[in-house]
């Protein structure tokens, strides 16, 4: 798979490139700003663009705006945003336009090399990857109370599920069996009154819709 990296910090750019190359990606271009990103995607048509939120010249949300343009103009290029801190509105903007092939992770997650590579791969093939912190912040926003009925364990499962992980991924993260996870998920869907869905991605959508991020 082919990737383009847009990140203004040289150290991190090199780090991300190394991780992706080690995971078998072909890094076609590394750029430092949004304009360079659009040009590189136009030229290389990669499977995924890994984009820093804060980039020159303004160091505010150039990356998010560029990502929205990319999703509109090049629907076959997935976008993974990297951010210093979580601003759930960025995630919401990104997910509102299109819920497949997008991701939003904190920069420090790159250090968990294998997990980061998994997330990039998942997004590149049309899945989602949301940072657990993003999901946690979305939960803070919720003012209706079905969430209060969840047990702490079920909340954890919900956060991981909203982040885009499969059953096996959640099981591995929580060190329990897949069947235990399946049971938790069933319970969550019952308590939150969500429609059942088998495919991982549709399930993520249901949760995101519940959190008020993705539109129906």
């Amino acid at each position: 798979m082919r990737a383009v990296i847009a990140e203004d910090s040289l150290l991190l750019r090199i780090g991300v490139a190394k991780v992706l190359e080690a995971a078998g990606f072909e890094v076609c271009a590394q750029v430092a700003d949004a304009e360079g990103l659009l040009a590189a995607v136009e030229e290389h048509r990669p499977d995924i663009a890994v984009v820093d939120v804060r980039m020159p010249p303004g160091f505010t949300d150039e990356g998010v705006r560029a990502a929205l343009v990319l999703r509109r103009q090049y629907p076959r290029t997935a976008v993974l945003l990297l951010s210093q801190y979580v601003e759930e509105r960025y995630a919401a903007d990104l997910l509102a336009a299109n819920t497949s092939g997008v991701g939003y992770l904190l920069k420090q997650r790159v250090a968990d090399v294998e997990e980061f590579a998994d997330s990039v791969r998942r997004v590149a093939v049309g899945g989602t990857a949301l940072d657990p912190q993003v999901v946690a912040q979305l939960l803070v926003r919720r003012h209706s109370d079905p969430l209060d009925r969840l047990t702490p364990r079920e909340r954890e499962v919900l956060e991981l599920m909203a982040g885009g992980r499969s059953n096996s991924g959640i099981a591995a993260a929580l060190f329990v069996t897949e069947s235990a996870i399946a049971k938790h998920i069933n319970s969550i869907f019952t308590k939150l009154d969500l429609p059942r869905a088998d495919a991982d991605h549709r399930r993520v959508l249901a949760v995101l819709r519940f959190l008020g991020v993705a539109t129906a």
């Binding site: 910090s9 150290l11 991190l12 090199i14 780090g15 991300v16 190394k18 991780v19 080690a22 804060r54 505010t60 210093q84 801190y85 979580v86 601003e87 759930e88 509105r89 920069k107 420090q108 790159v110 250090a111 968990d112 090399v113 294998e114 912190q133 946690a136 912040q137 939960l139 803070v140 926003r141 003012h143 969430l147 209060d148």
Partner: protein, 419 residues
């Protein structure tokens, strides 16, 4: 050596600046005497029992007062070296309304009092001191006069008699006394001018309070800017480097599969520590002034704080526009410290944060369903609360913590913010 310094102290030092002070005193004389004709006129009309005409010198006094004050200020500046502090100016208005308003101020009547009463008294003292100087000069140099003046001009036939010697000695004594008298009078003059022409004590205090408030705001802003700068530096420097280090260690762990077990363990350890260092640095930056607060405001920053806590926290921020960075920083600090306290001490299962703008006040409420009993003065949990109260007081906010034993605890903070 010692004798010369002692002589210098006694003979020379008193004369240093004496000329200057005498000039100051002399310059005051015409200004002080200016109202004397008006006084005489007033007394004259009163003696002649023509009260209608008595109004004239009074009115004239009112007219010349600002001129005399201006003259006194110039004298003060020229001889003391700095401006006499001005009393607060009356509010703006049409020419005559502001003139009428000025007539009702205490500052105005103190001025009138200075020129009409203190002035003539000071003039008498001025004259006395100038007379001492003149007498001292003449008496001390009596022999010169006896020698220089033609004999028929001499009023009394002193000649080279013992009286002349007494006169010389007396003159020298007066000469010795002159600088001290002049100094005392100059001090009295400055003091009178400062008290009667300068701002009153209330005005001085009010001005001081305003100055202090301004400088405190400046210090707070500077401290905030400094926190932001440190955050930027850490973000651009140490944080990036640590992430890069952790990435490299993670790559080493993932790709160097054929290393011996103990080497792998070392890499694992290093990788974990690098990630912990990143987390710790992030916590530190959050405590300083997180970038998200500067970029996105309270709403985004507080939901970030809330999401990191082990208990569910609801955050509702309702602000039509962003308050000043200083107020934002204080509100952020209050909420994040209060929530930390909730987790540490309150044994709560949930908490709620509301931030809203009511008129010109930013109201922050942090409530939990914990055990209560939080005490501002308590040694343990109290230090956190006392610190919060101080930070709130630094921007003239109010701080109220209701925490009955058994809970719940409600912390209400109100911060003034200009519209």
């Amino acid at each position: 050596m010692q004798l010369t310094t002692r002589l210098q102290r006694v003979l020379v030092r008193p004369f240093r600046g004496a000329g200057h002070r005498t000039a100051f005193v002399a310059a005051g004389l015409p200004l002080h005497l200016a109202v004397v004709p008006l006084w005489l006129w007033l007394l004259g009309t009163m003696a002649a029992l023509v009260p209608a005409v008595a109004a004239l010198p009074v009115l004239l006094t009112l007219v010349v007062t600002p001129l005399l004050t201006a003259g006194q200020r110039r004298r003060y500046r020229a001889f003391v070296g700095h401006d006499l502090p001005r009393p607060a100016a009356p509010g703006p208005g049409r020419h005559w309304t502001s003139a009428v308003r000025r007539l009702t101020t205490g500052a105005w009547w103190r001025q009138v009092c200075y020129h009409a009463v203190a002035g003539p008294l000071l003039a008498v003292l001025d004259l006395a001191v100038l007379a001492v100087w003149a007498a001292a000069a003449v008496a001390a140099s009596i022999y010169v006069w006896i020698w220089a003046l033609p004999p028929q001009w001499q009023v009394a036939d002193l000649g080279y008699t013992p009286q002349a010697a007494y006169l010389t000695a007396g003159g020298l004594a007066l000469l010795f006394l002159g600088p001290r008298l002049t100094g005392a009078l100059a001090r009295l003059e400055s003091r009178a001018a400062e008290v009667l022409l300068g701002p009153s004590r209330t005005e001085k205090l009010a001005r001081r309070v305003a100055d202090l408030a301004e400088s405190r705001a400046g210090v707070l802003d500077a401290a905030d800017a400094e926190r932001r700068r440190i955050e930027r530096d850490l973000h651009d420097g140490a944080q990036q480097r640590l992430v890069s280090l952790a990435v490299n260690l993670g790559l080493a762990r993932a790709t160097l599969a054929d290393l011996p077990a103990d080497a792998r363990q070392v890499i694992d350890e290093a990788h974990r520590e690098a990630k912990e260092a990143i987390a710790e640095l992030n916590d530190l930056v959050r405590g300083l002034h997180p970038a998200v607060l500067e970029d996105r405001g309270l709403d985004a920053a507080l939901s970030g704080v809330a999401a990191r806590l082990p208990i569910p926290v609801r955050v509702a921020v309702d602000l039509p526009q962003r308050p000043s960075p200083t107020v934002e920083a204080v509100a952020y600090f209050v909420v994040s410290e209060a929530l930390t306290n909730v987790v540490k001490h309150a044994r709560a299962t949930r908490a709620e944060v509301t931030v809203e703008r009511i008129g010109e006040t930013l109201r922050v409420v942090v409530a939990d369903d914990g055990a209560g009993g939080a005490d501002l003065a308590a040694a343990d949990g109290g230090t956190g609360l006392a610190g919060l109260a101080k930070r709130v007081a630094s921007v003239d906010g109010t701080f109220c913590c209701r925490s009955p034993a058994g809970g719940p605890t409600v912390l209400t903070v109100e911060l003034p913010c200009a519209p």
